[in-house]
Amino acid sequence: MELIEAIILSVLAASTPLLLAATGELVAERSGVLNLGVEGMMIVGAACGFGGAWLTGSIIIGALCGMLAGVLMSLLFAAMALGLAVNQVATGLALTIFGVGLSGLIGARFVGERITPAPHLQIPFVTDIPLIGRILFGEDAFVYLSLALVAAVWWFLYRTRAGLILRACGDNHVSAHALGYPVLKIRMYAVMFGGACAGLAGAYLPLAYTPFFIPGMTAGRGWIALALTVFASWLPGRLVIGAYLFGAVTILQLHAQGAGIGIPSQFMSSLPYLATVIVLVLLSRARTGGSTAPAALGTVFVPDR
């Protein structure tokens, strides 16, 4: 029983940065922008987040610094991909490479320092309930925040007019433009939201997960978040399932190895991506029911042409 509890706790922690970053990317992609710079925004968020927390001693200020850094990075992307209508794929990739270098520069003087990680919720008696107590009421704030964020995004996309307009921009930017909506402005906001989420996801790593900063510490989690949005077929609900599934596979394969179960670890590590490919195939075969990619995803829009 204790082992199951421990595994679930690890899975929740491992999934949270994926969920945060993927939620932001989902909104950006729903507006029609493919930002491959998630990894870059995350790692800069990690460096700035740690820096903020280390200098002020406050986890909240650290998280805000991470978000701000993510937004600034995303604005750089928006200026290129939206303002100058540069190819989104190339810009996104450049943003990642730039971010990895920049984070090393920002974080150089924080390497080797450590902070007190974000506290876990502790409600007397409630948190002590066996099994479910710690899982439901003993997490750090980021875990709850990430779930609340997904719910808010779902509500925004499907229950508000603004959400409908954002989705319209992603599905057919020419029509949305013809109806008088400021497509580029809406996309810029969506990209900024994506940046804030990626920055927060990056900041989660040094603030709660492993309370120190080392260059390259995101180690590819931004790319997993990108795969996740596809896996979730751009639906917030499935994103939660996908993130926890990805997290669970990562943790379970470690436990399987420790327990001496003879499944090659390399195979287990590749499972989430295999699942993504399978989901893509299933999506393209059954067009009914689920959502597919926003029709205008990744295409450049220049209003006056």
């Binding site: 510490m217 990562t250 001496g260």
Partner: protein, 359 residues
Amino acid sequence: MRKNLLAAAATLLLAGGLTSSAIAAEKLKVGFIYLGPVGDLGWTYQHELARQAVVKEFGDKIETTFLENVPEGPDAERAVEQLVRAGNTLIFTTSFGYMDPTLKVAKKYPNVHFEHCSGYKRDKNMATYSARWYQGRYIQGEIAAKMSKAGVLGYIGSFPIPEVVSGINATMIGAQTVNPNIKVKIIWVNSWFDPGKEADAAKALLDQGADIIMQHTDSPAAMQIASERGKFAFGQDSEMIKFGPKAQLTSILDTWAPYYIERVKAQLDGSWKSADTWGGLETKMFEMAPYTNMPDDVKKLAEDTQAAIAAGKLHPFKCPVVGQDGKEVECKGGDHLDDGQILSMNFYVKGIDDKLPGK
């Protein structure tokens, strides 16, 4: 970094000028190529400490330049060549993946001397050097077996290559001298460096009942988790006690300084020769961090073992070495396994209740 690059660029320009070649000939220029940033607190950081020691030792008789964050592969060749053109006549390339690029440049410039870390290709002007880290792992095994209450060790591996496998085996052989029934749980994270995953692996091992964490990955994440849970761990490459003041038992420290100083000295007096140096505790190619957080008798045991290994009285792979299948491994080195067997080790010793990946 920038300052050094600028310095390198400036010397490049100067070397191209007419007047400066005479000056360049007077001072020995030594170049270094690093894989990571100097602040990585691990592998690269230790090489940088050694470079600083060289500077301190020889003062203004030499001039050093380093290039950091140089990716392994074709870019490395350009970086090495850049150092040659800047007038460096002794160049240390400090990662396995620089092997072929270094060799290529070495063939092109026969008058420049190269030192490559942890590779196996050599030339008249290209030497190699590495450390017998398995000796340290043997000591850690003894300490771990003494300190473990559960009798279960947790081991985080990077990739199942001979260096890592021989480390696991040395750990187990050391541990078995203290507790013949010691168990080890091994988790491969398939990465040298992924703090999050290393932390997850450490958590998984502790959750499964291990109470000592050992690692062959580079970040202090596992140490930090052990510290958080009130358990013990060993550092890797460099001093990690900051991340676990009450958790670190010891750490294998890469101390390249004595070797670097020796080689620079040889270069200065013209006696430099290509060689294959695989040093251990006996030549201080690596050292053990202070033995902390353990009772005095364990500390004494560790110190005695260290002294015995350094004096050549104890070999971690002394025969008979018994494989997982219960058969004795052929004893090629007299009373211990020979270097070739250790450098190509691809089996687990008896007592490891796990399967080596790919076997």
